[in-house]
Symmetry: C2
């Protein structure tokens, strides 16, 4: 390939990387704001989160189209082909993370007028802390092509699953204590499932980083929790 | 292109189409069996559904790899490029449908030993009827490149959303009637959300068929229900 073509190809890849970085920033902000909206039952903030999802959809479509055009035009091999495939996969996962954050915001709109139970949200905030850290680490691992950090994200996902089991049991208990909590807690159950699914997509991103850097896939089975909270819900994912 | 290359290219596309058809068959069977297992609380059947998901994961990975290699090798344009992109997208949606059917089977394993409430499952069976018909129509629309059938699937998805709202309200009512129903009905709430999500992925397939046949994307906003059941849950998706 001539130097000119190589440079133009590098520019294609750089543009993909920049767009993914922008998507990651939007998704992180959506997640943080959706959880703030839920904690404070802030309807205005929840509506802003819902509105910001459109940007992610547009970016994902652009990344997918540009990655495919790059494959078709440049016929890349090995690591360069993996760059394009990774861009398609990661943009898909970030788009889903945005959807799930949007769902938390939409739940906030539903429960804003219901009887409140602040202690029911405590466990969700713990889940959010883990999910937000994991997402940041996965996006950093992609930006830096840092395989070790990506593997750590992959291993830590079990902690989020364990927290979700704990939240699940707590919410069921609140519902059994007082039937007036049932509707509120049911919406929170779905929020907790959304956070757990955000963790799954974050783990997908870390798997893609390993694939990108090494050409290898991680084994399908993810590690079980190290912190020993997992109970009857162990294998149930939404 | 020489005739030889064209034929070999057609064989690539045919192979992709055959694998997607196989994936669709596996996913349809998983969904039907997962709902049978749930209705009869049949643990053995549920375990078989869980086990069959691995086949979908393998097929999806193969389709993705082969589609990308076809794009890199043949540099297709227009409709041929869309064939490859459609294969990647549709295999991703079918894989997710299999995951969601597997989740229903896993819920069955959890609730098999709990107090039963047969009338709570009636609404889920109605949802399943709609979801299974929609899935069959979407897969047929892909196999026949039938844009009209694809558009009909896209328009009918609102019916499934409306049914989910109805199931949501019924399950909440059962929980409020008797706290001993809370755990059982909570698992069914997630099953109902899984069926609704299967409808979303089925709608994605129909959107991809329209894109494949026409090069156009359907508008992002899907139609609201024609059957008027949608209430407070209207905009909440998991």
């Amino acid at each position: 390939m001539s130097e000119h073509i190589v440079k133009s190809y590098d520019r294609d890849l750089e543009a993909l990387g920049r767009r993914i970085s922008e998507m990651g920033g939007v998704a992180e902000k959506m997640l943080a704001e959706a959880m703030d909206a839920l904690s404070m039952l802030d309807v205005d903030l929840a509506q802003r989160v819902v509105a910001s999802d459109a940007r992610l959809d547009i970016l994902q479509r652009e990344i997918e189209e540009n990655a495919v055009l790059t494959i078709a035009r440049r016929q890349p091999l090995a690591v360069d082909l993996r760059e394009c495939i990774a861009a398609i996969r990661i943009s898909g996962d970030i788009e889903r993370i945005g959807d799930l954050a949007k769902n938390i915001a939409k739940r906030t709109l539903k429960i804003a007028t219901e009887a409140r139970l602040p202690r029911a949200i405590v466990g969700l905030r713990s889940m959010h802390e883990v999910a937000a850290t994991q997402l940041k680490d996965a996006l950093d691992a992609y930006a830096l092509r840092d395989v070790e950090r990506a593997r750590a994200v992959w291993e830590n996902d079990a902690d989020l699953d364990a927290l979700e089991d704990s939240v699940f049991r707590d919410l069921l208990t609140f519902m059994m204590e007082d039937p007036r909590n049932i509707s509120f807690c049911t919406h929170l159950l779905f929020c907790s499932k959304n956070l757990e699914r955000i963790g799954d997509h974050t783990t997908n991103i870390s798997e893609t980083v390993v694939y990108l850097a090494t050409g290898e896939s991680l084994p399908m089975e993810r590690p079980k929790s190290r912190i020993g909270l997992r109970g009857s819900e162990q294998d149930v994912a939404q």
